[in-house]
């Protein structure tokens, strides 16, 4: 099986890698590039823990082949903070304790970032449906929704 040479942009950096034709982008990120922030909770697009943004679209990286990233822009949780300055969503997740075990948190943050980019002033219902592709088993979602609401109001003010 011949490897596929891929040249892509991840969190603003040019990255080149070789991957197998059937290897998912999630596996490439985690196993080849050491970017383990995206998690594999199911591998079938049902939990959202591996969420990334691919050319401004929110996707599950487990449902994207590594080969497909050629020439595209990938954003992962590792690129969300600027240096030591957290993104407002990250800060609000901490302040609201919107995480318990934290395994779903990177996926939620990426999905919430995409949500606010497209809808800066979402209603509670829009947040709930916007984040319905991300499973959390610890929090009951209450504090996650509140953190996103709070972040949205901070980001609007900024």
């Amino acid at each position: 099986m011949a490897g596929v040479a891929v040249s892509t942009t991840i969190n603003g950096d040019n990255v080149e890698y070789l991957c197998q034709p059937d290897e998912t982008l999630l596996d490439v990120l985690r196993d080849r590039l050491g970017l383990t922030g995206a998690k594999e909770g199911c591998g079938t697009g049902d939990c959202g823990a591996c969420s990334i943004i691919l050319d401004d679209r929110l996707v599950c990286s487990c449902l994207v082949l590594g080969a497909e990233a050629e020439g595209r822009r990938v954003e992962t949780i590792e690129g969300m903070a600027h240096g030591d300055r957290l993104h407002p969503l990250q800060q609000k997740f901490l302040e609201h304790a919107a995480l318990q075990c934290g395994i779903c948190t990177p996926g939620f943050l990426i999905a919430a970032k995409d949500l606010l980019a497209k809808n800066p002033d979402p209603t509670e219902e829009e947040i709930r449906f916007g984040l319905a592709g991300n499973l959390c088993r610890c929090t009951g979602y209450d504090k996650i929704v509140r953190a996103v609401q709070d972040a949205a109001s901070v980001m609007k003010g900024a």
Binding site: I103, L135, C138, K143
Partner: protein, 754 residues
């Protein structure tokens, strides 16, 4: 060692505040390392071959072809995990569950495993392993399995706990009984009796992180295991015993854990990974797929429960009885026993009897799931209580208040209660605005109570003072939901310093003494007790050092607000010494400063909750919508209230999923039909409303701060609270969990006579 755990009323500076958790930034930046986020040089990929049959004799396993495949470095079967359990039946079951020995006992039972250079090779190797099965008749339903005609899972099992010793083997491993008084007499006094049968389907803990570990075994017998677990010390003990290793040579590091809820209290893949690593001579990473998680780890019991409760016209319960049958998977358990103990624990009963039956079925080995066994029993009992209140014509809250257990009540499982919170949670629920909010068409309100024991157990904590006066707190209870924050607050409280000055870590098994696992809601209860004890031991040393620095008797030194203070007029010119100053001088005053604590935390203090919920039912489709949900629970003392709320909300959400949609669905072929998050439907964000919480604080007399465990009780009432709400909304009593739309619609149609 003379630690006094008794509660003393005091005011707090740090405890009760809501700071950001110490592991938080790593978790929001993707830096935190979970089970699958760790790698070792030269690591292989481990994969497990699983039985496709629910019940089959394993005649022969031929691994020759797999071993010859290029890139395969080890293939193991049960033969590579010889029985070293020495008559320990519980350990033997764990071993057999890790790798089937003579029979595959459920769809998904491990039968062999490989380690290969990459995942693709490992997958191919699994296909080359030839297993010769003799397929046997199987049984997956708990009631079916109890019948005399049912296929036997284990012909060496004879039911324990019967008055007459049985002569035939059975799938029922044990009968247990609890209670007091005379129920016949009690029912004789009743004006109203409700008798109902209930069923609950099997659910999974549903943690988002699949089981994952990396194992490495050196030729000198030392080994390392990196693993997501609720109890790395217990994993070490079990792995060492199963593999014939010395515990001290196996260092287990607990990774960040992506949810457990009881499902990570148990070794599944870890002994297999170690055996592969030992055989291959290279580290092995073994990560379960989601499909494997559902098929071969976790689940709780499926149950079948009969309840009978009688009461007088005035609303006094005169007798209560329950028969509870819980599935254990293929190995003996004590799940019905726990159900039988908790069933009526909320009530003050003169005559009560519960009988539990542990039942073997061809399903995965039952594991603990958050207040294990209690939610199903509470579903049955609290449903019947609601129905009885209705028959008597009493408000369901009033009826419960009238019969609630209180301090001095003999519990239905035996001992007499100390100060408890069931009454206060009921009163709070009664006065909650939620209770008075108006309801619309097709909407119903339900409420229910729940009880859980809470545990303590063996706990060991180290508190080290750095040369700069900062504090390292090493605990041995895995942090499953924010306990490092709570324990840092406790250390800060005792030492009288800022929360930020404390850094808590979960130490590996070679760095700290043995700890029981984080289960039974014991994490914060036990480790806070050990942290208080360690901090007090540290303060004693700090006072001694200060006394040395001042050259005065230690008895004249007190510790206040993070400083040593020389007490009395004569020392008026001595400025208080800060922790930092004492630490800086420690090299001259006797060396490093540390406090330790090793204790058995007893007296965990039982916990009670009352939940209220509103549900709307679509009578044409059976769809439900949770409109509003309120949790009232006693925390003893909420150390970090935000995380206490989080436990309440999370437990409620899991209970809502269980009540409405989650279930293991087996086909006639005994295979699990829905081993994935698409068809095993845990609640998503848009399924739930905000979950209101009310924290009550009825101090636990057996903890210095009054802390009780809070993690589990919140999953006990939801099944019943929702069943009561759905029943009220739909106008028909729901007796089968989950109340999925087809079940609700069928019940409505049956009620209509349609």
């Amino acid at each position: 060692m003379n630690f006094d755990p008794r509660y003393s009323n005091r005011s707090f500076t740090s405890v009760g505040t809501r700071p950001i958790r110490p592991d938080g930034v790593d978790k929001v930046t993707g830096r935190a390392r979970y089970g699958a986020d760790f790698n070792m040089a030269g690591q292989l990929v481990g994969r497990v071959l699983r039985s496709p049959h629910p019940h089959a004799k394993i005649r022969k396993i031929d691994t020759a072809k797999a071993e010859k495949l290029a890139g395969v470095k080890a293939v193991i079967t049960a033969a590579d995990l010889p029985d070293l359990t020495d008559g320990d039946a519980a350990m033997y079951d764990i071993l057999d569950n890790c790798m089937a020995r003579k029979k595959a006992l459920y769809d998904g039972h491990a039968v062999a495993a490989v380690a290969a250079v990459d995942a693709r090779t490992a997958r191919q190797a699994l296909k080359l392993i030839e297993v010769d099965y003799e397929v046997l008749l199987h049984v997956t339903d708990v009631d079916e399995a109890m019948k005399h005609t049912a296929p036997l899972l284990n012909d060496a099992i004879f039911t324990e706990g019967l008055e007459e010793k049985p002569v035939k083997p059975s799938n029922v491993t044990k009968r247990t009984q609890f209670g007091h008084g005379d129920i016949h007499e009690g029912f004789g006094q009743a004006d109203f009796v409700v008798k109902r049968s209930f069923k609950t389907e099997q659910t999974h803990q549903g943690y988002i992180e699949p089981h994952a570990c990396v194992a490495s075994v050196s030729s000198d017998g030392t080994a390392d295991l990196w693993v997501c677990t609720q109890g790395h010390f217990v994993y070490r003990q079990h792995c060492a015993q199963l593999l014939g290793m010395e515990a001290s040579k196996l260092r287990v590091t607990s990774s960040e854990i992506g949810g457990g809820f009881g499902g990570k209290t148990h070794v599944w893949a870890e002994p297999v990974a170690l055996a592969l690593a030992r055989k291959a001579g290279r580290p092995v990473k073994l990560v379960m797929t989601r499909d494997e998680v559902f098929r071969a780890s976790g689940p709780t019991s499926a149950t079948s429960i009969d309840v009978r409760i009688g009461a007088r016209k005035d609303g006094t319960i005169t007798a209560a009885e329950a028969t509870l049958r819980y599935s254990c998977g293929p190995y003996a358990g004590m799940w019905a026993e726990i159900g039988a103990m908790t069933a009526f624990a909320c009530y003050r009963l003169e005559n009560v009897r519960t009988v539990g039956y542990e039942v073997l079925v061809n399903r995965p080995k039952t594991a603990a799931y958050r207040a294990p066994s209690a939610p199903m029993a509470a579903f049955a009992v609290e449903s019947a209580i609601d129905e009885l209140a209705k028959e008597i014509g009493m408000d369901p809250v009033e009826f419960r208040i009238r019969n609630a257990a209180q301090e001095g009540t003999r519990s239905s499982y035996g001992p007499v209660y100390g100060p408890i919170g069931i009454g206060p949670t009921l009163e709070a629920a009664k006065n909650h605005p939620h209770m008075k909010a108006p309801l619309g068409k097709n909407q119903g309100r339900g409420m229910a109570c729940g009880f859980w024991f809470n545990f303590g157990g063996q706990t060991c904590t180290d508190l080290n003072i750095g040369m700069d006066g900062s504090v390292s707190l090493a605990v041995g209870t895995v942090d499953v939901g924010g306990s490092r924050a709570s324990l840092s607050l406790v250390a800060a409280e005792e030492l009288g310093i800022a929360y930020e000055q404390v850094k808590a870590v979960v130490a590996d098994t070679s760095s700290l003494g043995y700890n029981d696992m984080t289960d039974g809601s014991r994490g914060t209860f036990s480790s806070s007790m050990a942290t208080i004890s360690a901090a007090r031991n540290t303060i004693k040393i700090l006072r001694e050092r200060a006394a040395q620095m001042w050259d005065i008797p230690v008895d004249d030194v007190v510790w206040e607000k993070g400083h040593a203070i020389a007490k009395g007029e004569k020392y008026g010119n001595l400025a208080a010494l800060s922790l930092k100053e004492i630490a800086a001088a420690s090299g001259k005053t006797g060396g490093p400063i540390a406090g330790h604590s090793e204790l058995v935390a007893d007296g965990a203090g039982v916990s009670f909750a009352t939940h209220i919920c509103d549900i709307e039912v679509d009578p044409e489709t059976g769809t439900t919508r949770v409109l509003r949900y309120t949790v009232v629970q006693d925390a003893g003392k909420a150390v970090h209230p935000t995380y206490v709320e989080g436990q309440y909300q999370g437990g409620a959400a899991q209970g809502i999923g269980w009540a409405l949609n989650e279930e293991y669905i087996y086909g006639k072929d005994g295979r699990l039909q829905n081993p994935g998050f698409l068809d095993y439907r845990i609640p998503v964000c848009s399924d739930l409303p905000m979950i209101d919480t009310q924290i009550l604080e009825i101090p636990n007399p057996n903890h210095p701060y009054g802390v009780r465990g809070v993690g589990e009780t919140s999953i006990v009432p939801p099944l019943a609270a929702i069943a009561n709400a759905v029943s009220n909304a739909a106008g028909v009593r729901m007796t089968h969990i989950p109340m999925s739309p087809p079940r609700i619609l069928a019940a409505i149609e049956a009620e209509r006579g349609g």
